[in-house]
Amino acid sequence: MSVLVFIESSEGEIRKSSLEAVSYAAALDRGEVIALAIGEAEESALAKAGISGASRVLHAKDEQLKEDNIMAYASVVAEAMEKENAEILVLAKSSLGDAVASRVAIKSNAALASNVVELPDFSAGFKVKRGIYTGKAFVNVDLKAEKKILAIKKNAVPLKEDGAPCAVDAFASTVNEADFALKITGVEKAEGEILLPEAEIVVSGGRGMKGPENWHILEDLAKSLGAATGCSKPVSDMEWRPHHEHVGQTGIKVSPNLYIAVGISGAIQHLAGVNSSKCLVVINKDPEAPFFKAADYGIVGDAFEIVPKLTAAIKALNA
């Protein structure tokens, strides 16, 4: 029996969320942990899955798999599960991971749990705890099928970093032409930026920032912290910032260690996107802003004065 982990890469390295998925698989202690990478990647980069607990990496690098084709990727993952006699598939929640997981669940007749927040309880059955109601509650479910798929949320387990790089073997997958009904005609992606769902620290701005021309002060703070930038729904609706930075109920849900909200009043729909953050800091000129009730730390005052001071203080700390 083994545990298969579908891993994704960004800018040449395995994504941190995927390394967390490998760490999770290792912590399951249910047999050999095998990572599966699909598409172009350097072997030396993939070998690092070993550091988080994989004993080997399978690499499906057929030319046709260069693009993130959901259907083809799902076929490869299901095939690898079968060949490696995997009982469990673990992956990080992402735009690709979710799509792949749902298709593999049907192909492999597996029970699927998404948004898993901690390790399962094996004492009676296979019980997993997952986030529901957009972070406002959890449910404990017993997975009944022989095979299980767990799509894990960020910070479900600590990142394991004490292993050693492992072997990377080519995985020859069967290419099914019908899977290529989906054509990717273009990709637009911000480069060199920390991805919002992966970030340990997020600096987010709302209407209180008064306009897109003022975003540089948040970007400076984010840079000093190694943080990603996010925004509230009105900000993305007004197109001050791109939609992929919108944090909230109908946007991205984040669970960083530190979330700094600047000029965001804290509507319940915004809180739904940030309520699993470890530490919430709110900066707002309105002392009555509802966000303060959900915050760990708060400062009442003018963001245009406070944020640059905060950036300077962080820089001083790092110097």
């Binding site: 029970a111 699927l112 017993d142 990717i184 992606k189 800091v281 760990d296 400062i299 001071k309 203080a313």
Partner: protein, 245 residues
């Protein structure tokens, strides 16, 4: 063109979440139920496509009789007819199986739904339905245009978006800004009363997961306020107390 829009019946986004019966049941008291916000985007786009391309729109919900007011609202927004599969939506496998069965019977060109329901948040149903039907699936879709038998879409990915093309039929999980939410007008509300709402019995599905119980997150402590003239104190607290720097 025949469009199937699958909607969930979920607590309004401002609802306070609580459980009863020793944390085994969702507490519906005082909770207002609505069409899932993402499903509402899917429905709005379907109604737009109906106007621009001359489609028929069928709305589908897997739920008990209590969901009918939500279904009627979807009819008021502009769907032509509705189907309710008479069952509690116990998990994504179950719901996907019911949707796939209805889709097979109706041979739809386009199956739309939200990227996820806001109660169970799995975001898995569209992919499962597509796999069951042997169709492509695309999610989360932020733009959807139909040109003949070809659909052109923009799909959100981490840090950007991807342009995707696929031939009909297919399944899409939708999100903003695919369309503007539509508010039913008086004429829509009146006509919704007489539009057909067919109730079907569910197909049998094997058991994949069983809910044991629910939990609420631990209560949040008091906020600690820091003076605006002393941001150094905030940095110290974040480093030494919260240990997040």
């Amino acid at each position: 063109m025949k469009i199937l829009v699958c909607i969930s019946h979920v607590p309004d986004t401002t609802s306070k979440i609580a459980f009863t019966d020793n944390n085994t049941k969702f507490d519906t008291s005082g909770v207002q139920f609505v069409i899932g916000p993402y499903d509402d985007y899917a429905l709005a786009r379907a109604v737009e496509l109906k106007a621009s391309h001359g489609a028929s729109v069928t709305v589908l919900n897997v739920g008990e009789a209590s969901t009918e007011p939500t279904i009627r609202k979807a009819l008021a927004i502009g769907a032509d007819e509705a189907i309710r599969v008479n069952a509690f939506p116990s998990d994504s496998h179950f719901v996907a199986s019911q949707i796939a069965e209805v889709a097979k019977q109706g041979s739809y060109d386009l199956i739309l739904m939200g990227r996820e329901s806001i109660d169970f948040n799995g975001g898995m149903v569209h992919g499962m339905v597509a796999e069951m039907l042997g169709m492509p699936s695309v999610s989360p879709v932020m733009r959807l245009d139909i040109e003949g038998d070809l659909a052109k879409m923009s799909r959100e990915i981490e840090g950007g978006h991807e342009e995707v093309e696929v031939k009909l039929p297919f399944v899409a999980g939708c999100q903003e800004p695919i369309a503007e939410w539509k508010i039913p007008n008086m004429r829509g509300i009146m006509s919704a009363r007489t539009k057909p709402l067919n109730v079907l019995e569910p197909v049998e599905v094997g058991e994949f997961s069983v809910v044991e119980n629910y939990e609420l997150p631990p209560a949040k402590g008091e906020v600690r306020m820091v003076d605006a003239d002393n941001v150094e104190e905030l940095v110290r607290l974040l480093k030494e107390e919260a240990k997040v720097l």
